[in-house]
Amino acid sequence: MNIHEYQAKELFKKYRIPIPDGGVAFNVDSAVSIAEELHDFPVIVKAQVHAGGRGKAGGVKLANNMSEVKRLAKEMLGMTLVTNQTGPKGKLVNKILIESGVSIDKELYFSILPDRTTARLVIMASRAGGMDIEEVAATTPERIVKVYIDPLSGIQGYQLRQLAYGLQMPSSLIRQFSSMVRNLYELFVMHDCSLLEINPLIITTEEQILAIDAKINFDDNALFRQKEILEYRDFDEEDPLEVEASKYQLNYIKMDGNIGNMVNGAGLAMATMDIIKQAGAEPANFLDVGGGANTEQVENAFRIMLSDQNVKGILINIFGGILRCDVLATGVVQASKKVGLTLPVVVRMEGTNVDAGRKILDESGLNLMTATDLTDAAQKVAHMAQA
C-alpha cells in the first residue's frame, strides 16, 4: 500500500524525524492559512499524488509571497499531473502540501528496504542526493553506502557509524543523524514498511538535518496488524475497478489493452498476458481468480472485465487441479447467462475433469469457443482482436 508524502511526514513527526514546518491543504483558503502560520517566505507548494517525478512535471513550486501561494494552490488543486511514473493519463491533484522553504547546503539520499537475497533489511545512503538512485547505482556504485541489518538483532551502533562516516557527516551532526536513523529503522519495523525513502535528506546551511521528501510503502501482507496505517489508504489514488475486484478477493490489475483474461494462479496469469501479446493483441488486465474460484467469483470477474469499455474479447485460461474443470465450466456458463455476455469468449481448460468441462461449455448454447491448447487459444485470441 502506498501513502502520500504528507502522511509519511505525519509518521516522521511521530518518530521525531526532523521535517520542515507545514501542513496539507484541500482548498485554496486552507493553503493560505497554512502559509500564514509559517510566517516567512518562500514556501513550497507540493502536489500530493501517489507517484514520483513530481518536481519535473510541475508538481513542486516555490511561492515568494501570499498571492503566489494563492495562484499556485488554485493552479495545482484540480490539475492532472503527468509524471514519468503516472502513465499518460496522469493523476488528479486533490491535496497540496504547503511547507517552509529551506536553504540547502547538501542533498543526501536515504532508504530502507528488504533485501530478498540475504533476508535482511538494507539501508542505502548516498551523498548523491536528489538524483535518480538507480542511475547512481548503475554508474557510480561506490557512492552508495549500504548496511545490512539482521531483523532478529536489529540495527547496531557500528552500522550507524558506517552510515554516518560513509556519508562524511559533519561531526557536529553525527549524534543527531544516528538517532534519526535509529528512529527510521524503528518506524520501518513497527509499521511493516516495504520501502522507506527520503530523497533528498538535506543538511541546511544552518547545519540542520531535514527530511524534505518522504516516501513510504507498506507490506500488503502485514496490513491486518496495521490498522492505523490502513486509515491512510486513499481510494482516489486507486483504479475503481481494482477496488471493486478486491472486494471479491479477485486479484485484478487494469491495463490498457483490448483482450480481457481470467486465469487461476498468478504465474499462469502473467504467462497468459504474454501469450495475448504474442498473438498480436494487448491484454486488458491481469486477473488471478485463485485456486478455488466459484460461480459468484467468476460472475464478478466477468462483470469487472466487461465494465472496461476497451475489452473486445475474453480469454479464460484455467489449469484445473484442485479447481475442477467441470466446476469452472458450470460457473462460466451460469455467469455468462447472468451478465448477458455478448462478447466472444475463448475458453482454454486443461487438467482435472477437462472432458466433462468441455462438454458443459459445448452444450451451453453460448458464444464460447473452446481452445484445445495454448497455441490454439493464442490463434483464436488473435482472431478476436482483428474482428
Binding site: 530478498r116 533476508a119 535482511r120 504465474g267 504474454d274
Partner: protein, 290 residues
C-alpha cells in the same frame, strides 16, 4: 532417484484440522505420501482420519519420527510454525501458506539458519517426487514417475502447465519443486539446480521464473559455471506493468530491476534454452532432452 524427498519421507502436517490442511493431507495420503502426524494446538490426542494429531511439532516428531513438515497454518502465525518445525528437528519444511508478512519471513529465515533444515516456500505448491511422494497441493495425476526431467519454479498453476506438457510428451519427472512466489523464501533456484546436477536420474531441468528480484540472474550465473545438464528456461511477465505486484508478492518490476527481458537475456547468456512460446514447451523439451 530424486531430490529432497522420496517414499521414505515422513510428513507431519501443521494445521491438519483446518479446511485446507485436512483436504490436502487426504490428497497426499491418497497419492501414497507417508503422512504420519498432524499438529493443531489444543487438538492433541484427536485423529484426522487415521492420522494422530499433536499439540506441538516437537511431540509429533518424538512420537512418530516425522522428518518433514508440511505447513498450512494461516499467514499471521506461519513464521512461528516454520521456526517451531526447525526447532523440533525436522530436516525439511514445506510451507504452502500465502501472505506471510515479509518482516516475519526475514526473521524466520535468520532463525532457521542455525538448524540443519531446508525450507521450501512459502507461498508455493510444494514438492513432488512422482510415484513416490507428494508433499504439497499440486494435482498428482498430471505427473509421470521415473524422470528424467527435474522441474523448479516460482509458480503454482504455471508449473502444472509445464509438467502436464512434459507428461503429454512422454517425459517423466524426477522431482518437481515449487520454490514459491514470495520475495523472501527458503530454497532458491541454485539450491535446487545443485541437487538436480548431482542427481543421477535427472538428465535435464526446466526452470520457470517470473519478474521480480534477481534470483533467476543468479541462477544463470550458477548454470553457466557449474551445470552440465541441459536447462530449458521460461520467464513469465513480459507484459507486466512496472511498479505493480502481479499476484505474487515477489512479482514486481521496480525501476529497471526484475524485468522479464533482463532475465531472458541472462538465460541466453548462460546458454539456457529459452522457451518463448509456452504452448510449445513440451515439444521443445522433447527436442532438447532427447
Amino acid at each position: 532417484m530424486s531430490i529432497f524427498v522420496d517414499k521414505n519421507t515422513r510428513v507431519v502436517v501443521q494445521g491438519i484440522t483446518g479446511k485446507e490442511g485436512s483436504f490436502h493431507a487426504r490428497q497426499c495420503i491418497a497419492y501414497g505420501t507417508q503422512v504420519v502426524a498432524g499438529v493443531t494446538p489444543n487438538k492433541g490426542g484427536q485423529k484426522m482420519d487415521d492420522v494422530p494429531v499433536f499439540n506441538t511439532v516437537l511431540s509429533a516428531v518424538k512420537e512418530t519420527g516425522a522428518n518433514c513438515s508440511l505447513i498450512f497454518v494461516p499467514a499471521p502465525f506461519c513464521a512461528d510454525a516454520i521456526m517451531e518445525s526447525a526447532d523440533a528437528g525436522v530436516q525439511l519444511i514445506v510451507a504452502i501458506t500465502e501472505g506471510i508478512p515479509v518482516l516475519d519471513m526475514m526473521k524466520a529465515r535468520q532463525f532457521i539458519k542455525d538448524y540443519p533444515v531446508r525450507l521450501i516456500g512459502p507461498n508455493c505448491p510444494g514438492i513432488i517426487t512422482p510415484g513416490e511422494t507428494k508433499i504439497g497441493i499440486m494435482p498428482g495425476n498430471i505427473h509421470k514417475p521415473g524422470g528424467p526431467i527435474g522441474v523448479v519454479s516460482r509458480s503454482g498453476t504455471l508449473t502444472y502447465e509445464v509438467v502436464h506438457q512434459l507428461t503429454q510428451n512422454n517425459l517423466g519427472q524426477t522431482t518437481c519443486v515449487g520454490i514459491g512466489g514470495d520475495p523472501v523464501n527458503g530454497t532458491n533456484f541454485i539450491d535446487v539446480l545443485e541437487a538436480f546436477q548431482a542427481d543421477n536420474d535427472t538428465q535435464g531441468v526446466i526452470m520457470v521464473g517470473e519478474i521480480g528480484g534477481n534470483a533467476e540472474e543468479m541462477a544463470c550465473e550458477y548454470i553457466k559455471k557449474n551445470m552440465t545438464k541441459p536447462v530449458i528456461g521460461f520467464i513469465a511477465g513480459l507484459t507486466a506493468p512496472p511498479g505493480r505486484r502481479m499476484g505474487h508478492a515477489g512479482a514486481i518490476v521496480s525501476g529497471n530491476s526484475g524485468t522479464a527481458q533482463a532475465k531472458i537475456q541472462a538465460m541466453k547468456d548462460a546458454d539456457i534454452h529459452v522457451c518463448e512460446n509456452l504452448g510449445k514447451l513440451g515439444e521443445m523439451a522433447k527436442h532438447v532432452f532427447q
